[in-house]
């Protein structure tokens, strides 16, 4: 109810303004919606990176010690080696810091980060859809006003 009343309020505000002002508001809101969409995409790709890290961790935990593997030296050069201790992992926590964790802690870290990203994503989606509805309102009102100005078209 309150949301509808607020939306009605916004529509009334827009009605009172001139064509120029409604146009400006629509353009600005469109820009904001685009920015929010970009942020949403970034969060989505970060979440998928974390999820593949998490599944790689899980895979690693299944491998026994001494398991033969290929170690990447560069992007195209691998050398054969053996898996030493798959219980210790190095986690990149940001700003150049790496923390040695156990497999369980590493999995927990991935989980925590994924949850954090998911909640940010949900918050952003709410804001983005509100902005989008304002942009749509402004667009509709702009159309109506333009029609008013040129009735013989």
């Amino acid at each position: 109810m309150m949301a509808a009343a607020a939306k009605g309020g916004v529509a009334m505000e827009l009605e009172k303004m001139s064509v120029e002002q409604v146009k400006a508001i629509k353009e600005q809101t469109d820009l904001e919606v685009n920015l929010l969409q970009d942020s949403l995409n970034n969060i989505r790709s970060a979440t998928s990176r974390l999820e593949s890290a998490s599944s790689a961790l899980h895979d690693l935990s299944l491998r026994p010690q001494g398991h033969p593997m290929l170690v990447p030296l560069t992007a195209s050069l691998y050398v054969p080696g053996t898996l030493d201790d798959s219980d210790k992992v190095l986690v990149d926590v940001g700003t150049g810091y790496f923390i040695e964790k156990t497999m369980a802690e590493g999995k927990d870290y991935c989980e925590r980060k994924i949850n954090l990203l998911k909640s940010n994503f949900d918050q952003l989606i709410e804001v983005a859809s509100k902005k989008k509805s304002i942009a749509d309102e402004a667009g509709a009102i702009l159309q109506a006003k333009l029609k008013q100005l040129s009735p013989t078209s």
């Binding site: 190095l90 926590v93 700003t95 150049g96 810091y97 790496f98 923390i99 040695e100 964790k101 870290y109």
Partner: protein, 130 residues
């Protein structure tokens, strides 16, 4: 006539003031950019601090310095991250103050320009009548 040269002077003054306003707006935009960068860094550092706080005393922490991963003391890492957070917060505060100052200047410049435009208009109207 006297009025036309006065008019020309006013118009030149208007151009100058418009240039000043432009520069102010560019400065404000740059301020926003730097602010954004600092805010992102602050967020990242706070995340790192949270992770470090969760660790036991004996956990190993490494820092990537160029191509080298160097073992760090947990206490030292904590202190470094905290110092960085303090530094970034101070910079953000400074930027806020600068931004406010710039915005005030921008508003007063806009007012000056508006008044100038009005004077020019009334002068031109006066000329047209004469």
């Amino acid at each position: 006539m006297g009025t036309s040269s006065a008019l020309r002077d006013l118009q030149r003054d208007l151009e100058n003031k418009a240039g000043d306003l432009n520069k102010l707006q560019k400065d404000i935009a740059k301020n926003h950019q730097v602010r954004k960068k600092y805010t992102i860094q602050l967020g990242e550092n706070e995340l790192v601090l949270k992770e470090l706080d969760l660790l036991n005393e004996d956990a190993n922490v490494y820092k990537l310095i160029g191509p080298v991963l160097v073992k760090q003391d947990l206490a030292e890492a904590n202190a470094n991250v905290r110092k960085r957070i303090d530094y970034i917060s101070a910079e953000l505060k400074r930027l806020d103050a600068t931004l406010q100052d710039l915005e005030e200047k921008q508003n007063s410049k806009r007012d000056t320009i508006l008044k100038l435009q009005q004077r020019i208009q009334s002068l031109q109207a006066g000329k047209a009548k004469a």
